[in-house]
């Protein structure tokens, strides 16, 4: 597996950066994600962080060195991330669970699978066109689909930030799963928050990433988005990967054949305003039995 990857997250003109980005890869599988925390305060950031840690953690447990079923993996990881956010709210007595958008992509054996909730996007760029992209879970997207507004209206629509699906919050997320997408050499897979695609639009994303070395093109793309974003520029986050398939290139790409089967390389922003209890995401039959045994053991200990 050969690819070049670059990620960056900038604060824009906001007081804090509530976006989280990460990529992690084993010898055979690559995971990329962008989470954009919502809510205007610390909690959005926490939701994005929890989702990132849970999903990356699940990936590292299961991609040894590949995932049995990428779609199934995505489904479980996103469900668990959602529940982990609810658990956090539960533990901290928060008035409501914090929220975050999510877009996650798995690349394995020459194909890509992705899943998303909210308006963080994934683009597959191929030969100067958009070969695939996610469909935002947003009011504006819905209005567009129903033909109620025109694309140029959408760009300035006052409710363009309103989304109806996310992880956390008080509703079950609506998560869309992509079919398997076979990658071709030189394809670019880019995941980004609305702080990036918002100012640039599809055309700007395409123009910015189509050719050249993504190690240089991505920072330029972010510069442009930040300039266009102006004095209210949102957080800007992107993970972009150029696929080299089996061919060799002139750019310094990552060659994962060299990794041991259980070796992972992960790039994720550090975050120290919260700590998570590890693994408290699922509640299986075994968990129930264990909880009961634990309680009964405590009862016996204290009733002596």
């Amino acid at each position: 597996m050969k690819f070049t990857i670059f990620q960056d997250s900038r604060i824009g003109q906001r007081a804090s950066n509530q976006d989280r980005i990460a990529y992690s890869y084993s010898r055979e599988t690559l995971l990329m994600l962008v989470a954009d925390g919502m809510g205007g305060h610390l909690y959005g950031e926490i939701a994005a962080q929890i989702a990132t840690e849970i999903i990356v953690g699940a990936f590292q447990r299961e991609a040894r060195p590949s995932l049995d079923d990428p779609t199934h993996f995505l489904r479980l990881a996103l469900d668990n991330a959602h529940n982990a956010i609810l658990d956090y709210a539960f533990d901290k007595y928060l008035p409501e669970a914090p929220r975050t958008t999510i877009v996650v992509c798995v690349v394995q054996h020459g194909s890509a699978w992705w899943a998303h909730a909210g308006d963080s996007r994934l683009y597959v760029l191929r030969e100067g066109r958009i070969a695939a992209q996610t469909r935002d879970h947003s009011r504006v997207r819905m209005l567009l689909d129903h033909g109620l507004i025109r694309p140029e209206q959408a760009e300035r629509h006052p409710e363009r930030n309103r989304i109806y699906s996310c992880l956390g919050g008080d509703q079950l997320p609506q998560i869309d799963f992509s079919p398997r997408q076979t990658l071709q050499e030189e394809d670019v897979v880019a995941l980004c928050s609305d702080g990036v695609w918002g100012p640039l639009g599809d055309a700007g994303m395409l123009a910015g990433l189509t050719d050249g070395d993504i190690m240089q093109r991505v920072p330029q793309l972010l510069d442009r988005a930040e300039t266009l974003g102006g004095p209210t520029c949102d957080n800007l986050s992107i993970v972009a990967m150029r696929w080299h398939g089996g061919a060799t290139g002139t750019v310094p790409f990552i060659e994962t054949e060299l990794l041991a089967p259980d070796h992972f390389t992960t790039h994720m922003d550090s975050f120290d305003t919260t700590t998570l209890g590890a693994g408290d995401v699922e509640f299986s039959d075994e968990d129930i039995e264990r909880a009961i045994d634990e309680i009964n053991a405590t009862i016996r200990k204290f009733n002596k």
Partner: protein, 315 residues
């Protein structure tokens, strides 16, 4: 659908090592039964059965849980375990004791000690407006003993009210129903809103839940003392924030109560958490303060005082 309530297990039904005698109470989250263990000792069994997520018809033993509610049902179960886990660690004469925990019939059960008595609520209803100060001080100083134990385990009760304060036949109170875990169901589904009892819940329980703390339970203790004196709950805190409708007891001046006690209740019922007593201990000191010539049976507080001493020594 929402009007459908879950059918209780019938009398004589055998479950684990227990035999059900009758239903004691029925909440939105659970059913509590009076049962007997193999040796004939009475116990209270709480069955996890959230009305909004699971339905059990008459004559059935296991509830039906629609697949769309599976996740929420499991999540609620986790909260139910939280309550059990918390209670299992507490061993205090004024806190209800958990005896056993088991799983059957597609749900889970918590077995608690059962003692003869009645709730403070029943007592208030019977002696409306005539609950003596001496009784109030005695009941609440001991209830606060139990609450201190709860708080020292870094837990909050969050549903203190007269119907959750149980009076044994010898008069000593027992704190029941640790709903704290239940509170947290709010985030899963809109239908699992936290349950609290209007009038007894502090303002921060409605809105700024990050401000919850020991002072939140103390608001509820104050509201319960208020109910003893006035005969009903104080106005809801969420409404008091909009327009203050509570006439402080020190202005209301009900006959037969010392100014000190009325001041203590007013202190607890402050909307601003910082203006309330900050610890169960400080409130307990105020509740235990005795007037000259107040004939209190010395033995009543003996246990509380020794505990206070040990607290001071530790601190």
């Amino acid at each position: 659908m929402s009007v459908l309530a879950n059918a209780a297990l019938p009398a004589g039904f055998e479950i684990d090592q227990y035999r059900i005698e009758r239903r004691l109470s029925h909440g939105g989250f659970s059913i509590v039964y009076l049962a007997h263990d193999a040796e004939g000792k009475p116990v209270a069994i709480k069955e996890y059965l959230p009305n909004s997520l699971a339905l059990r018809k008459e004559g059935e033993t296991a509830p039906h849980i629609p697949s769309r509610h599976q996740v929420a049902f499991r999540y609620g179960m986790k909260c139910f375990f939280e309550e059990g886990r918390s209670l299992a660690k507490l061993m205090h004469p004024n806190v209800v004791r958990v005896l056993n925990f088991f799983r059957t019939n597609g749900t889970v059960y918590m077995v608690m000690e059962f003692e003869k008595g009645r709730t403070l609520n029943e007592y208030i209803q019977k002696h409306r407006g005539k609950v003596p100060e001496r009784f109030i001080r005695a009941v609440f100083s001991r209830t606060l003993n139990g609450l201190r134990e709860v708080h020292s385990h870094k837990m909050l009760h969050l549903d203190i009210k007269p119907s959750n304060i149980y009076l044994r036949t010898n008069g000593t109170p027992l704190l029941l129903d640790f709903g704290a875990a239940r509170q947290t169901l709010m985030s899963e589904q809109p239908m699992l809103k936290p349950m609290y009892t209007p009038g007894f819940a502090p303002p921060e329980q409605y809105t700024d839940r990050e401000n919850l703390g020991p002072w939140s339970d103390l608001y509820s203790v104050g509201a319960s003392m208020y109910a003893c004196i006035v005969g009903n709950a104080p106005p809801r805190a969420d409404e008091r924030i909009q327009v203050e409708t509570l006439l402080p007891l020190t202005e209301r001046k009900p006959a037969g109560y010392s100014l000190e006690l009325l001041e203590t209740v007013d202190w607890c019922l402050q909307l601003d958490p910082l203006k309330r007593p900050q610890s169960a201990y400080s409130l307990q000191k105020a509740v235990m303060r005795r007037e000259e010539g107040d004939a209190l049976p010395a033995g009543l507080f003996a246990d509380a005082e020794s505990r206070l001493r040990s607290f001071i020594e530790r601190g």
